[in-house]
């Protein structure tokens, strides 16, 4: 017979000794450590090399800490030189010459030269099918040739005048070291630590797909100056508001609702930015004969109160949609387009005129052949889109249009819309910031094919003169507002909240980084920001105490259990 009491008391003693001798986990002391989080939406954006990152804004951002482009947007959205110290073009806009810095070194110490730039542009074009940067991040077809005059002068010749060349190509393409990549045939699978060697302000120390975290160390020899922080970490947080309040993280991108929930505790600063993120109503234009009628779509626009939708869904964290699609904070915005203020009477009148005058017992209009004027609304089943769908249903019900719901996850919605298998859909996505991508994708993204619009689209990308281009883009917005190919319901703002007593200097870049990613993580933030705290104090939490307590509790119940058995 085992002596249980003796066994338990020994166990208890061991546990107690261990819990007292235990020293807590210390993050990293006496260094400037900054911990950011992408929040609940995700944390893993792929390996941060230009050929392996996950091809969305955050993936590009994580990569941009290690890799520099020729030029880059600063706090005011103006383009400054990174690897290039100056650049000029011929008057026809076809030939661009970049004068490179001569004091730049790769993270491994090798000097940076013009041959690296030439190698990168050719390599990306060659691997465009499998490289995120090539497959859609910029238009590889605009570049005709790239040559070097000497080690620090690069000339790029374009196939056609391309107005957004600087902001959409030169400020987007990350330059990689030739000596590392020249023998790599499968760039997407090259995720060795060497693959993250760039010229950027940060050197990748660790990327963990399991913990969904990144750790970067400052590049002390960075040519714009040593970064203001020593270690930059991105960690996953299940609830960024709670993590911020607890101090587990120093910064997180938040939604407006989260900003309200955060309810500022004093050392937290909130910065907002233009989201360039639209929620819009999409129609199946080519396939649905009823919705193909412009007057029906206009009537739907009159029936919707976008201001109210914004208030009820974003609670003030955005602005109502604009018929011209370009959000009002954009420098390309044209305010003088047809407006569709909330006017249900006008909507009713237009629907009557379009031949849907009869209604059934439910108040739903009937088509001339006696069917109910009813559409299926496809949307992603997140709470905000769900709310928008409900509001649209009630607004359209008021003018006699029936809506049935079809929710799905994002990929299902994308798949169904891609296959043309829908009637109406609610879409939310980044709008991009340059008209080249913001508007020229309209035929694909709305199903609307207007020859006049398409001609303007082609013209404006080639218009090197700013004023001329602005006039063309203005005209495109007028056409959009007149034809209502899609209804922009609202634009969502972006927010960041951070511990301002530790570090300050976050901003949202007007026009975004990487050709239009609205993020607070412009790498210049970490170079030019100000560190406010002397050193990081070792962070201790209540964990060890509690773990000890829990162990005691378990031990105590074990004693009780065995004690009970003995009786």
């Amino acid at each position: 017979m085992v002596n249980y009491e003796k066994a338990t008391s020994i166990l208890l003693a061991i546990i107690m000794i261990f819990s007292f001798s235990f020293t807590p986990a210390i993050a990293e002391s006496s260094k400037k450590v900054w911990i950011s989080s992408w929040g609940a939406s995700g944390g893993d954006w792929g390996f941060p090399s230009p050929f392996a990152f996950y091809p969305r804004g955050p993936g590009y951002t994580m990569m941009s800490f290690c890799f520099d482009t020729l030029v880059w947007p600063n706090q005011t959205g103006d383009i400054i030189g990174l690897l290039a110290k100056s650049w000029e073009s011929t008057p026809d806009g076809l030939t661009w010459t970049f004068h490179l810095r001569d004091n730049v070194k790769w993270h491994d110490g090798t000097p940076f030269k013009a041959s690296d730039v030439i190698f990168t542009y050719n390599y990306i074009k060659d691997k465009s099918a499998v490289a995120p940067v090539g497959a859609g991040w910029y238009d590889t077809s605009v570049i005709k040739s790239i040559t070097a005059k000497d080690d620090y002068t690069v000339t790029i010749v374009l196939t056609k005048p391309y107005a957004p060349f600087i902001s959409q190509v030169a400020a987007v393409v990350p330059i990689v070291p030739e000596h590392i990549w020249k023998n790599v045939s499968e760039p997407a699978k090259f995720t060795d630590k060497m693959a993250a060697i760039g010229t950027g302000p940060f050197i990748l120390e660790d990327y963990s797909p399991d913990q969904q975290s990144y750790k970067y160390a400052a590049n002390k020899d960075y040519y714009l100056g040593k970064p203001a922080i020593d270690t930059l970490m991105f960690v996953k947080s299940a609830d960024p508001v709670i993590s911020l309040k607890k101090g587990d993280i120093n910064e997180a991108g938040l939604t407006y609702d989260q900003v309200l929930a955060l309810n500022d505790t004093g050392n937290i600063k909130v910065v907002s930015g233009d989201g360039y993120w639209v929620y819009r109503l999409r129609f199946n234009l080519p396939n649905n004969t009823i919705l193909n009628d412009t007057n029906v779509r206009k009537a739907i626009y009159y029936a919707l109160n976008c201001d109210d939708i914004q208030n009820k869904v974003l609670h003030g964290g955005g602005i109502p949609g604009n018929p011209g699609y370009v959000p009002p904070y954009s420098e390309w915005y044209n305010p003088n387009v047809t407006q569709y203020p909330y006017d249900p009477a006008k909507a009713n009148q237009m629907l009557d005129a379009a031949g849907y005058g009869k209604r059934d017992a439910d108040g739903i209009r009937l088509t001339p052949d006696g069917k109910r004027l009813e559409f299926q609304l496809l949307y992603t089943s997140d709470s905000q889109t769900q709310r928008i769908a409900e509001l649209i249903q009630s607004y359209l019900k008021a003018v006699g249009i029936g809506i049935t719901f079809k929710p799905g996850d994002m990929k299902t919605v994308d798949g169904l819309v891609g296959a043309g298998n829908f009637e109406m859909a609610i879409y939310s996505h980044g709008t991009s910031t340059d008209p080249a991508r913001m508007l020229n994708g309209f035929p694909a993204s709305t199903g609307w094919n207007d020859s006049q619009f398409n001609a303007l689209a082609k013209q404006q990308v080639s218009a090197v003169d700013e004023k001329e281009r602005k006039a063309l883009v203005d005209r495109m917005q007028e056409l959009i507002a007149d034809n209502v190919p899609t209804i922009p319901l609202l634009y969502k703002n972006v927010y960041t909240a951070f511990n301002k007593n530790k570090f300050d200097g976050f901003f949202f870049t007007p026009g975004g980084i990487g050709g239009g990613v609205p993020t607070e993580y412009n790498k210049l933030v970490f170079v030019y920001g100000t560190w406010k705290e002397a050193t990081t104090s070792p962070s201790t939490d209540g964990v060890p105490f509690l773990a000890g307590l829990a162990a005691l509790g378990i031990a105590a119940s074990a004693v009780l259990f065995w004690g009970n058995r003995k009786k």
């Binding site: 993050a27 091809p55 913990q211 996953k236 609830d239 996505h429 993204s445 964990v543 058995r565």
Partner: protein, 331 residues
Amino acid sequence: MDKMYRKAVISRGLEYALTFFIILTINFFLPRVMPGGPLLSIFGSQNSDLPVVIDEATKHRLMDYYHLNDPLYVQFINYLIDTAHLNFGYSIYYNIPVLDIIAGRLPWTILLMGSALLISTALGIFLGLESSWRRGKALDRALLIIIPSLKSIPVFFLGSLMIFIFGFRLGIFPVSGGMTPYATYSSPLAMAIDVASHMALPLACLIIFEIAGSYLLVRNVCVQQMEKPYVTMAFARGLKDRSIKGHVLKNSMAPVVNQVAAMLSFLVGGAIFIETVFAYPGMGLLIYNSFMERDYPVLQAAFIVMSLCVLACNYAADIICAYIDGRTRQW
């Protein structure tokens, strides 16, 4: 080991092998009939305006690159051959071998689910036995109300509640992840405690979610056993309560072993919710993320690995049952 026992083990094994093959087949076809393909993840939805400059030729090259242009049966045969070689290919999202991803995630899930299974079963057996012993008394009635009602709380709601109370209000447990990112530990014990404290809340949720099953089963089986003549006899002989309980428990074990293995499959479902709520770096979160991104290679491999685990545990349970209870050998 007698002949019948060996025969039983082998025929059961063949049945499980067949089940596994059917799972493999379903696993291959299911993601391919869902709307939305993996290429959407690469060049984005054509409906967003951001990545649009992709032409048909590039698209075709991409499809070729991933062998998505091959006829379906060729894809299926390749899939079977690769699976046999444990070659699950490269993740479309992560760009690293699927096996590496799973090797990084599986231990976390085994740790979390294994602990949950062990603790909830142990607690279930203990409470079930005590409950049946005091059948109809206050403790029994209270447990009968409390435990099943705990089970009816949706597990993700329970998770959020725990995050709010223990993670935020009381601030005693970390609320996300499997360990403090990039912490430096003074000793392996410090690391163990860090891991344990990160596991505390998800573990508690899973235990609450799972305890009802074993508790109710043990209680019912024990109640039946208590009515058997040998128990009456034992009481009449004046045996200690503890040794009577021991006999009752031993005779009730066979269905409990089976139940534990069967519960594993429910636990996998629960783990997806729990790991998502707590951002716990296990298989559940991996499956959820891969599903959202339609990352076929990861999804397939994850399902194969998880179903293999569940099948293996059930097989093991069958063998154990056959060992402890001779009657179950005649399959």
